[in-house]
């Protein structure tokens, strides 16, 4: 066990955990966050995605010690129901969710790519989500939601 300072959604937290603990478990258990979730624990699905200094990582296999001191963003950090981020509003307006478990992967990979490439085509957006899983197959609406977000950025 060792102490780490984690900066999550703009706030600092001190946690005392085994350094090898994947970041996901610390976010879920110690910080009681619901955004990143355990789908597979093998970096195969994307449910656990968080942004680390602006880049998406799979927190289910990322050692907590390697995340210390860096900026961690979960989907909670994007916005709330009272004050949503435009990308969250886009997902609501397209009703682009069925069970919603996969949302961290699609939203954070999509946001990261579109923020850098607001003129992205539909094919490029699909490509930016390469490998992510959504078992309810809400793909059609999620792509529309990301396109809507991109249009909002261009406006």
């Amino acid at each position: 066990m060792a102490e780490f300072s984690l900066k999550v959604n703009g706030r600092s937290h001190k946690v005392d955990v085994d350094p090898e603990t994947p970041l996901l478990f610390v976010l879920m258990e110690d910080l009681r966050l619901n955004g990143p979730k355990f789908g597979c624990g093998l970096s195969q699905c994307g449910s656990c995605t968080v942004l680390l200094d602006g880049e998406p990582i799979r927190s289910c296999q990322f050692p907590t010690s390697d995340a210390a001191g860096l900026d961690i963003l979960t989907i909670e950090g994007l916005g709330t129901t009272e004050n949503p981020h435009p990308i969250q509003t886009a997902f609501i307006e397209e009703q682009a969710v069925q069970c919603g478990f996969c949302i961290s992967g699609i939203m954070l990979y999509g946001k990261t790519y579109i923020d850098k490439n607001p003129n992205a085509t539909r094919e490029q957006i699909i490509d930016s989500l390469n490998g992510l899983l959504c078992r309810c197959y809400t793909h059609t609406r999620m792509i529309r939601a990301l396109e809507r977000y991109a249009r909002g950025l261009r406006a």
């Binding site: 085994d18 603990t21 004050n83 969250q88 919603g100 959504c134 078992r135």
Partner: protein, 779 residues
């Protein structure tokens, strides 16, 4: 925004966008307090029964005008709870933000069995469901208002929970003041009239889903997020091969690990508990267990032949006595065999449950937070597993990831209950990805389907003969069969075996598994209730013992049977050079099925001509179209699907370009919600048709993660998915979540035939199988 303003928006037709509280905020005007969350508002056990036939079990109206509704049908991500809000708002004329909906909590909600099988609309809108309870309550409120205001009931109107004299609206009385916080003390009354769908203003509207704002902002609590004070973390340690038994467990092997690791062993159930989840994971990986040898599994390469040779339990859905004669008389006989593998639910999240079990025996108690599809049957079966009376057990549904049937949700609930009972603390268990896939869920079973059709000299089908083999082991757990799932068996509870039995001729036509095709007349005795014209039909299903646990995977058996029937119909059409749509219509008698076939064909700009497409080259990339249709389980949703594909004849790669799905489920509760389910079903069906197959070697399942169980994912070509809704207001509501997925495999297979002249008869349509089908084409 005030409730009045929200109502005004709704009357003005703005409800499709939901109600936004404040500029840009996402709260769609619903109240907090969704179904089954952690706060236990009741006193503890023993929990009294919640009688299904009492209005008070369903609806409570407070003095503060709040409407609290209890239901036994739950939200799985399919959007049903939004429909329930709409139903309540419609029947009681109250705004959404005055409603609290609580579902699937054995201490508080009526027992509506399992939420599954596209049955929720049937149940909730049926004579014993929520709609009838609401109609009874409304009738009683009108009765009371009539007495209070001293006018006949037909001179009253209601709006926003306020009943007023139509001619003199100042004379009014609110629900809350009529009920005064008391009980209705009424039985559900069959004479109480629910609203006529033709008058719906809230049902039938694409109201935004109430749960989406919390889900997209990470505020929603899934069962994976349940946190109970003092909770410890458990992990299962499953047999490494099928059928292995515990020989010994070396508890010392985890002695050095941190986290107060405890080991629990009960027969072949082994688990560990630790303070933190990572510690439990390490302990489960480190624990040394000596297992016996397992069983030798049947060879997968010969498995379909193996299936034909086993003792069977037989069942006929239809059995006309003249099928063999008609086949002999036919001008030509077409025959084919179709093969469908075991497939997984493949829930995105491995299953999770939290259990708080105290003690054992008559004074023991338990609370379980579970994503089970059936809180009541789980309560009753867990009672057997942990030896605590069912009255002392409370199962609270908390949504997990989409489950599509029996994933590991019930088995992990047993795991958590056993571990909690052993350590005397609340324990959370989430299965590993491997355990979810290999030793957690109950698979959709494999199928071998033989089809024969006799065609007369006009090209009309005069006989349809279907014989199929499938498998079964376990299924949904219940009080009588707690061993129906893996943990139950590990702990020593028996899984009932398949008992061979001959099939009797049916007494009535029940096509619940779609074993009879759409083209049969469904005649049993003097009554014909099928959707087609072919009277000489036979449908025989043999069920054999499965080596693996099986259960209802989305469109159970219906999907496998329909793959066979709808592929075969296409083969017969091709044999007489008939257009696939026109040929189907020639043998259909059900107007609603005919309509959805036409609707899909029209929306897809169906080119009328036989398959295969003339002019397609035998090399290179070619395109084609195919259609399939079904009346889901004989009475629960009409749908059709046109698939457009491209086939690369060098590589065997199928690219699905477009899927056009039509559906008629009676009065549509939420059009956008229905489209969402149809789109998801179309793509999930495509994944299953093109990619999915559970694989095993001689001792264990080898499909254990997303690499070894291959599903369609983001980044691949995404077909255009279009949906055509048929809305009928004059028939009962039917289910909507499982019809589209049922017809995808056949539609794609038929499209591949249209493109190439090569016929696919085995799912999944791997490139190897496509290339083999191309090689098998007549030259």
């Amino acid at each position: 925004m005030t409730p009045d303003a929200l109502s005004a928006l709704e009357r003005a037709g703005f409800s499709r966008r939901g109600f936004l509280k404040g500029a840009g905020a996402l709260i769609v005007g619903y109240s907090a307090g969704g179904g089954g969350m952690i706060q236990a508002q009741n006193s503890g056990p023993p929990y009294p029964a919640v009688p299904l036939n009492q209005v008070d079990s369903w609806v409570v109206i407070g003095r503060d005008e709040r409407i609290t509704v209890y239901s036994g049908k739950c939200e799985f991500g399919q959007g049903f709870s939004t429909v329930q809000y709409q139903l309540i708002a419609e029947e009681l004329s109250v705004p959404f933000d005055r409603i609290s909906l609580i579902f699937c909590d054995t201490a508080r909600t009526p027992d509506q069995g399992v939420t599954s099988g596209s049955q929720s609309h049937f149940a909730e809108f049926g004579p014993n469901g929520l709609r009838q309870a609401l109609a009874t309550a409304r009738a009683a409120l009108f009765q009371k208002a009539s007495e209070r205001l001293n006018v006949p009931m037909d001179e009253l109107t209601v709006q926003d929970g306020m009943i007023s004299v139509t001619a003199d609206p100042a004379k009014q009385v609110s629900y809350g003041s009529l009920v005064a916080g008391g009980r209705f003390n009424l039985t559900l009354d069959a004479r109480a009239q629910p609203k006529n769908p033709a008058e719906y203003r809230i049902l039938g509207d694409s109201v935004w889903r109430h749960d989406l704002p919390e889900k997209v902002t990470g505020q929603f609590e899934y069962v994976q997020n349940v946190r109970v004070p003092g909770m410890l973390h458990g992990k299962a340690v499953r047999p490494p091969v099928v059928g292995a038994k515990v020989v010994s467990v070396d508890q010392n092997s985890v002695r050095g690990l941190s986290g107060n690791v405890r080991v629990v062993v009960k027969n072949d159930f082994v688990g560990v508990v630790a303070d933190k989840e990572w510690q439990a994971i390490k302990a489960a990986q480190t624990l040394r267990v000596t297992w016996s040898q397992g069983v030798t599994l049947p060879n997968q390469d010969e498995f379909y032949d193996y299936m034909r040779r086993q003792p069977t339990r037989d069942a006929y859905v239809v059995r006309a006595p003249d099928v063999d004669d008609m086949l002999k008389q036919a001008k030509s006989v077409v025959s084919a065999t179709y093969l469908h593998p075991y497939q997984m639910h493949g829930s995105l999240a491995s299953s999770c449950a939290v259990a708080d079990v105290k003690g054992t025996g008559a004074s023991g108690t338990a609370t379980i937070w579970s994503a089970t599809q059936g809180v009541y049957p789980q309560r009753d079966s867990v009672a057997v597993v942990i030896g605590i009376p069912r009255e002392n057990i409370r199962v609270i549904f908390v949504e997990g990831s989409g489950c599509y049937g029996i994933n590991g949700a019930d088995t992990v609930s047993y795991d958590a209950a056993l571990l909690s009972q052993a350590v005397g603390k609340p324990v959370r268990v989430q299965l590993t990805r491997r355990d979810e896939m290999v030793a957690g869920e109950n698979y959709g079973p494999a199928y071998v389907s033989d089809l024969k059709a006799g065609v007369d000299d006009r090209g009309q089908i005069i006989a349809w003969d279907y014989e199929a083999w499938t498998l079964s082991k376990g299924g949904r757990p219940n009080a009588n069969n707690p061993g129906n799932i893996i943990t139950g068996a590990l702990v020593g509870l028996p899984t009932p075996p398949i008992v061979p039995a001959a099939g009797n001729s049916p007494n009535n036509f029940n096509n619940g598994g779609n074993a009879a095709s759409s083209y049969g007349a469904g005649c049993v005795g003097a009554t014909c209730s099928g959707t087609g014209t072919i009277r000489s039909e036979r449908a025989l299903t043999h069920t054999i013992q499965s080596p693996f646990y099986t259960g209802p995977l989305r469109s159970p058996n219906r999907l496998q049977n329909t793959f066979a029937h709808e592929s075969f119909m296409d083969e017969v059409a091709a044999s007489v050079k008939a257009d696939p749509v026109e040929y189907r219509l020639r043998h259909l008698s059900d107007a609603r099925l005919i309509d959805v076939v036409n609707a899909a064909a029209q929306a897809a700009n169906w080119e009328t001509r036989p398959s295969p497409k003339p002019g397609n080259s035998r090399t290179g990339v070619v395109s084609g179209r195919g259609i399939a249709c079904v009346l889901y389980e004989g009475d629960n949703g009409y749908c059709a699907l046109v698939a457009e594909v491209e086939v690369d004849q060098a590589s065997g790669i199928i690219t699905v370009k477009r899927l056009v799905a039509s559906q008629d489920s009676g009065p549509i509760s939420n059009p956008d919600g229905m489209r969402n389910q149809m789109e998801g079903g179309a793509l999930q069906g495509m994944s299953r048709a093109l990619r999915e197959e559970v694989r095993w070697n001689d001792e264990r399942i080898i499909s254990a993660d997303w690499r070894t169980y291959n599903i369609a994912r983001f980044g691949e070509y995404l077909p255009i998915v279009e949906t055509v809704l048929v809305n009928r207001l004059d028939v009962p509501q039917m289910g909507a979540g499982e019809c589209t997925i049922t017809v995808v495999a056949a539609a794609i297979g038929n499209a591949v035939y249209d493109a190439t002249g090569g016929r696919l008869r085995q799912v999944p349509f791997t490139t190897a199988r496509v290339l083999a089908a191309l090689r098998a084409r007549p030259s």
